[in-house]
Symmetry: C2
Subunit: 342 residues, 2 copies
């Protein structure tokens, strides 16, 4: 992947030109969006009888992404995906996004176009309308700051604090794939290479373009299929710890139950890393973690089936004693730490 | 003003610690905010029967502010103020904010505290609740990215495209003060100095801590006291041009009518700059520009009186011919350009 710097840069176009360039790529706005990009602010009709979910998250060049590992379209996709994931983790349905860009003057126009197209591809997949934003110059890294709002019916919101002891811990999809993919990219940073194996390729793709679990999140909220939910942006261990802390309970995870893809486990092992520890600590898996009381388990299974059959794995339970532990080979040990941004 | 770097930096505290530090400074949340900072996303009850206004704007170190000229609290204040101004320019009432920070590791904790306190002082003044946000590391400049949402009743929104020929152009407060203040700061950049004259001090203060016209904006929308509105973030000339273009009309400004403070005019003149041109082109005046049909003029005057008597000056009118001109000493000339970020 080449560094996205070429002759035609964003500095040559100017603020107005850049905004016009982005607007030209937008699909038709939904009817509830009364005013989109182009005025002082966007104007939207809220969803009747719903609560509003709001979240903001940024990708910073050199911190959250590396041009050697991600194409501009991957960065645009991921900047929106991580916010969609946060709305899903609240049981909400995402609706609109604001895109705030701080652009280095040397950024190629082609790269900006790619970034916007990646963003809009994710927006189309999650049915999110780009309602507005901001473009400014950055004397340092590219910063892609995104706000997403969504909706959820009252008493259908999934917070972190609702887990009770005895609730089962379920996770969607697979864990560790993104961390394994990033590991592969780092190991091949100075080579022109793409993984040849389909499993490894899937890990790299998961790192570059996470698939937020928008549908199962919204359905789990709407159908009250969980007592608490959180996404795995900062890793599985972190999510379990956060829900346990917010809910005033403990947790026990079953190491053997973790849905670690075979290719990810192989990549960790060939790097001399314990796959269980790496999968627990690795960030960038935008899966959802659910706390599920016994009476809701059938509902959650139904909801998973309705969400294009997203895999759902029971990996442990929340406990009365407030420690957070990992059960492995019949023995219990403290859960390793998660990913920390600072 | 000293560079805000000291022994205790944000890197020493970590992401969680920084979020806890910010949350500890928050006042009690309003009842309609069901979940604030601390979960995957914020949850708010929308205002019944209202449209939602959404805007995002960022301040970037080295582009929008300079530590030699602004204290951390000024930066925090201004980062929110510029967004409140955008909501006011739509005729809306601001309600909640999201604060996304990209922090250099060397930033002093004291500076972060100051920034947050400045932000919260503006939030209290504008009755805005800080509902959530994000904290990450920046390998480059400090970036303060803010999203504000507000509300307005249907058919009470003030867009840029509603001006008709014959509508008068009104501006709140004064123009040119912020640009004159920034000029003073630049001229004294290497000196430890504060302006001794009250007028000059007011210019510097206006640059550091703009006062968004939240009340008159909201009242003008609610009472349909204008056909179009925009804020002067990028200068008066730019605002007139933008409204004229969006509305398909021309405009003529009366140079002699511009409310340029005497101290600002003196500062421009002593720097060898034409005060009229500087006041037209200078950004950072967060005043509001209104297009006002004849039948609405009484209403706008009433609304200004209800807004703590904010000054309101008629400075020209929108015209049938689509040029944008300045009338000065009986002659007409093209309007100079506004402030451009790239």
């Amino acid at each position: 992947m080449s560094t996205p710097v070429s002759a035609a840069t964003v500095a040559a176009v100017g603020e107005r030109g850049l905004i016009a360039r982005i607007r030209a790529r937008l699909p038709e706005a939904p009817a509830w969006l009364h005013a989109g990009p182009g005025d002082d602010a966007a104007v939207a009709a809220p969803e009747r009888g719903a609560l509003e979910i709001l979240t903001t998250d940024a990708l910073v060049e050199g911190v959250h992404f590396d041009w050697r590992f991600s194409a501009p379209a991957d960065v645009g996709w991921k900047a929106l995906a991580v916010n969609v994931s946060d709305v899903a983790a609240m049981g909400g349905t995402p609706r609109l996004a604001l895109l705030s860009l701080a652009l280095p003057e040397t950024l190629a126009l082609d790269s900006l176009d790619g970034l916007v197209d990646g963003f809009l591809a994710m927006a189309a997949a999650a049915r999110v309308a780009l309602a507005g934003g901001n473009v400014t110059r950055s004397p340092g890294p590219l910063v892609v700051d995104v706000t997403v709002t969504g909706s959820a019916k009252p008493r259908r919101v999934l917070t972190r604090g609702g887990a009770r002891c005895g609730d089962a811990i379920y996770v969607t999809g697979a864990v560790g794939a993104a961390a394994a993919g990033l590991g592969w990219l780092r190991a091949h940073a100075d080579l022109i290479a793409e993984p040849r194996d389909a499993g490894e390729r899937a890990c790299v793709e998961r790192y570059r373009r996470p698939e937020p679990r928008a549908r199962i999140g919204a359905l789990a909220g709407r159908n009250r299929a969980a007592s608490a939910c959180m996404d795995l942006s900062d890793g599985l261990a972190d999510a379990v710890r956060q829900i346990a802390e917010a809910s005033g309970v403990g947790a026990r995870l079953d190491a053997e139950a973790l849905p670690i893809p075979a290719a990810a486990a192989r990549l960790f092992e060939s790097a001399g890393v314990d796959p269980i520890g790496a999968a627990l600590a690795g960030g960038d898996d935008y899966e959802l973690l659910f706390a599920v009381p016994r009476r809701m388990r059938g509902r959650l299974t139904t909801v998973a089936r309705q969400s294009r059959g997203v895999p759902l794995t029971r990996i442990g339970e929340f406990t009365r004693d407030t420690g957070v532990r990992l059960s492995r080979g019949g023995r219990e040990e403290p859960l390793p730490a998660g990913f920390v941004h600072f």
